[in-house]
């Protein structure tokens, strides 16, 4: 008993020493370095820039690999600027014979000449380690050498070399190597001259031969210059050049990582990147944590000296002209559930957090006037809230090949339009998204050229502009349309019963039930019976490919900030069921297609805006989609997290961010003092309970002996 009491006393005394017991990180790491703490819930599938194509993977490789161009961190609308390139590319238009022409419309080919900055070095990496004779140390590993290797860190030597244009060319070649399976291989084959033929040539060749085999449309001019020839005129190609797909890859990486012994140990290029970016992956243990360190070889790169209006006032130019990056180390911990993540954020162990629906009320309050603000408990911790409308759209699509809801007849159009009015997305956003969304008025999301806010951007087929805001047309308008379409009060004249429509969805989780019921109710407002055909995602995709769905819900997230990247979802030649493209509703309209062709190759100017307005008007009239929601992201940041500005296009934002580790250390100390008294009380209560039991035990034992 005395020992137990002593233990509790020691526990109490140690708690008085201002020690923090719940720190999940090594103590020495947190106080002296500018370390960013974040997490990942699902391990990234690919870190090879030729394969990777998702946001959670770009969070890593965007910091490691450097394509020739990047998005300006502060300027809006989004602007491209050189990253490893010396300047923006020289673009030449060529005729069929390869002669330069001045008119882009007459171009049979377009050529991009890219010149790189000199003296950019790769991160230290064993693939580049050489001996004094210039032979690579680890390109032909023996079984004996492999025995000692379990991680990349186990290689004792690392090397580096200067970035050259050949590394960019190597990566373009990698896009079409069958073993790499790049998701954009087929798309790029249709643009880059000679890539299709090159894919055939290297079909049965190992990756190591890519270095010596040339693509006709990609020319290496010298150490710092290369040019890419693409078919026709495709101005959006420049945006692809700012994506990791076009980042440099040294041939040594393919030679090194092609060794079977390393593949067997999960040491592959897909898991251990090699780049020139501001950070390098120090530890890649997707089962536990991923750690990025500042690249010691990172080239001269500086924080922008200008931004958009208001940036200076917000303190976003305080670091103007300073050498990047600011953060020394970024630790990404495996955190699978949102509740523990949220609690650790509140304890200061994560620097930023999104807001899950469970914690929304704890974090955010909406005033009577609809203004969004933080709750007092968040304000007390000086947490910052940042919101941004995403460059994406979710929509309800109609299969235009369907003989009830699809087609170009006035009856079908009126039916679609009636539904578009009846489905109240404002209510949907309030109920299911905690107000985190903007009802879409057209195809293009905010911050993309062509988007117009206010009355100018209003979808007048669905909304009226009243008292300075958009108001959905009354239900009576939709009911009138139903009557005109021949479905008065939702009755199908063929059957004499309620019109039945089918919604195909892959939303089968328990949380989806309420949403689907809500949709049923929206359709029921017009007397229509909505039948939900829920299935798994694979079956849903199959239905979509075959054009078997009637109504569906889908969305699109921008690849790049250009209206073409949204309107192409409605372009006739991209019809999914007919041509396997991304036009899931199989909408086809000659006028729209003509406008799309013109608009897609134009620079951003008044004329282009006019064309976009006409295209929007056409889509609003034909209603192949019910425009749903542009989701709004809500992010919370601790006060020690600085230089925060939403940039939905840039993948390499980490280098601009700043952390104040001293502030964080103080806050963590303050917020995480262990509370021991409940333990002492609990222990005491236990003693009180145990004591009579012990007495009873002793008595009973004696009684047994007596018997």
């Amino acid at each position: 008993m005395k020992k137990i009491m002593l233990f509790f006393c020691l526990l109490f005394l140690s708690a008085c020493e201002q020690q923090v017991w719940n720190n999940p990180y090594p103590e020495q790491e947190t106080k002296h370095q500018a370390v960013l703490y974040s997490s990942f819930s699902e391990r990234p599938r690919h870190l090879d820039p030729a394969k990777s194509y998702s946001a959670n993977e770009y969070a890593f490789i965007g910091q490691i690999y450097e394509p020739p161009f990047q998005y300006h961190f502060l300027k809006r609308p989004y602007q491209l600027e050189p990253l490893t390139a010396k300047k923006m590319p020289e673009i030449r238009y060529l005729d069929a014979a390869g002669k330069q022409v001045s008119d882009s419309k007459a171009a049979v080919y377009t050529e991009y000449l890219i010149e790189l900055k000199p003296d950019i070095q790769f991160q230290p990496h064993p693939a580049l380690a050489q001996n004094q004779q210039g032979d690579y140390l680890y390109h032909h590993l023996s079984a004996q050498q492999l025995e000692k290797i379990t991680r990349l860190k186990d290689f004792q030597q690392t090397g580096s070399r200067e970035l050259t244009a050949a590394d960019y060319v190597q990566q373009i070649k990698r896009l079409v190597h069958p073993k790499i399976s790049s998701p954009i291989a087929e798309l790029m084959k249709s643009y880059i001259v000679g890539l299709e033929e090159y894919a055939q040539q290297v079909k049965n060749e190992p990756r190591t031969t890519l270095k010596t085999m040339e693509i006709s449309g990609v020319t290496l001019l010298d150490n710092y210059r290369y040019k890419i020839r693409i078919k026709g005129h495709y101005p959006q190609f420049i945006f692809w050049l700012a994506m990791p797909f076009f980042a440099p890859m040294p041939w040594e990486a393919d030679a090194f990582y092609s060794q079977q012994g390393l593949i067997d140990k999960n040491i592959t290029l897909d898991w251990q990147p090699i780049g020139t970016g501001a950070y390098m992956l120090e530890e890649n243990n997707p089962n536990l944590q991923m750690v990025m360190l500042k690249n010691p070889n990172y080239h001269a790169d500086y924080y922008p000296t200008e931004g958009e209006q208001g940036d200076k006032e917000k303190g976003l130019l305080k670091d103007a002209g300073q050498r990047l990056p600011f953060i020394d180390k970024a630790v990404y911990r495996l955190e699978k559930e949102s509740i523990p993540y949220w609690n650790k954020f509140l304890q200061g162990y994560y620097d930023a957090s999104g807001i899950a629906s469970d914690s929304f009320d704890q974090a955010v309050q909406i005033s009577g006037g609809g203004e969004i603000g933080l709750t007092p408990s968040m304000l007390e911790k000086e947490i910052q809230l940042q919101t941004a409308v995403m460059s994406s759209i979710s929509y309800m699509g109609f299969n235009m090949l369907d003989n009830v809801i699809g087609g170009t007849t006035e009856q079908a159009r009126q039916l679609r339009l009636a539904l578009a009015i009846a489905i109240d997305y404002e209510e949907y956003i309030a109920i299911f998204m905690n107000g985190r969304g903007v009802p879409a008025q057209g195809v293009i999301p905010p911050e993309i050229f062509g988007y117009q806010s206010g009355e100018q951007g209003l979808n007048k087929t669905i909304y009226d502009w009243q008292e300075g805001r958009a108001r959905r047309k009354p239900l009576a308008v939709a009911q009138q349309l139903m009557q005109e379409a021949g479905y008065a009060q939702g009755i199908d004249p063929k059957t004499g019963e309620a019109l039945i429509l089918y919604l195909d969805t892959a939303a089968t989780g328990p949380d989806d039930r309420a949403r689907l019921n809500w949709y049923r109710k929206q359709f029921a407002k017009l007397g229509i019976q909505l039948v939900i055909r829920a299935t798994d995602y694979n079956r849903f995709q199959q239905k979509m490919r075959k054009g078997n769905a009637q109504i569906f819900m889908w969305g699109w997230n921008a690849d790049y900030p250009d209206p073409e990247n949204f309107f192409f979802l409605l372009y006739g030649a991209n019809a999914k069921a007919l041509f396997g493209g991304e036009n899931a509703g199989n909408y086809q309209n000659a006028e729209f297609d003509g406008l799309f062709k013109q608009m897609s190759i134009m620079p951003n100017n008044v004329r282009r805006l006019q064309l976009i307005e006409r295209m929007q008007a056409k889509i609003r009239h034909d209603v192949p989609w019910i425009f749903g929601v542009h989701p709004k992201s809500f992010s919370l940041y601790h006060r020690w997290y600085q230089n925060l500005k939403p940039n939905l296009m840039a993948n390499n934002k980490l280098k601009y961010l700043r952390i104040q580790p001293e502030q964080r250390a103080i806050a963590r100390q303050q917020w995480n003092q262990p509370i021991v008294w409940p333990l002492l009380v609990g222990g005491g209560l236990l003693m009180i309970l145990i004591y009579p039991a012990l007495r009873s035990f002793q008595r009973k034992a004696k009684e047994t002996v007596a018997k």
Partner: protein, 325 residues
Amino acid sequence: MITYILRRLLYALPLLLGVNILTFMLFFVVNSPDDMARMQLGQKHITEQAITNWKQQRGYDLPLLVNSQADGLGQLQETIFYQKSLRLFSFNFGLSDSGRNIGEDIQQRMWPSLAVALPSLVFGLLLNISVALMMVFFRQSYLEFSSIILCVVIMSISSLFYIIGGQFIIGKLLMLVPISGYDTGINAAKFLVLPVVISVVSGVGSGARWYRSLFLEEIEQDYVRTARAKGLTETQVLFRHVLKNAMIPILTGVVVILPLLFMGSLITESFFSIPGLGSYTIDAINSQDFAIVRAMVFLGSVLYIIGLLLTDISYTLVDPRVRLG
């Protein structure tokens, strides 16, 4: 004994083959290689050619069960079933659909699973036996009745409640240990306290009640009466005779789950971000990486069969009357 073990191992082969065929049917007939390719390649800009390439590179372009274009044994060998499923018998798990070596991942992730499961089992066993013995000692008293009620209450609550409640009270409110996470070596200890405590507490209801029933069965036996007649104290009776004789079902119950400790706990690992095999399986299911799911189902079956075999062997150790022939 050796003949018995060999015979049991031979019995295991058709059983594992059956499991293999069943999982193969589930994964390849319901979910075609085309579906897998689409899942792995993502949702944007995916063409038929890209799918064909993906399948070719991973050997999913072969026929499912019989390759009529091949000769001789090749008809069976050059099939997806042979390449992907039968290979598991040599414990060659191959590469996951995302390209990682599954065997290497399993080797790495089984230790965190074990680090949670083993102390949970040992402490749980000690606590359950102690509580059960206490209930038997105080049988037909208010202490026993209140303990039974408490056990029923504990076992009636979902394990998820204990996890979230434990994280909230111990991790968030009292700030005594990290809420979640894991580390290697000795640093893992602070992350293991909470999941182990929760696991032990949540299991005490059902465990103690089961052991209590085993002890009660023994306590009515003639040899117990004889022991009492000899003048032994109730404590001596319980520890020397009742506990010893009740060890057979306890031991066999424990031995059967020993190999499965490596497989980890799906929910605990997920909530505490412990990088074990339980969360590995859950991740694979979520990302539809069927190469991993197949491997884990196979491994689970093998370990279960080993567990059953060990149980049989353990009978002979604790009860000399049992002979394996």
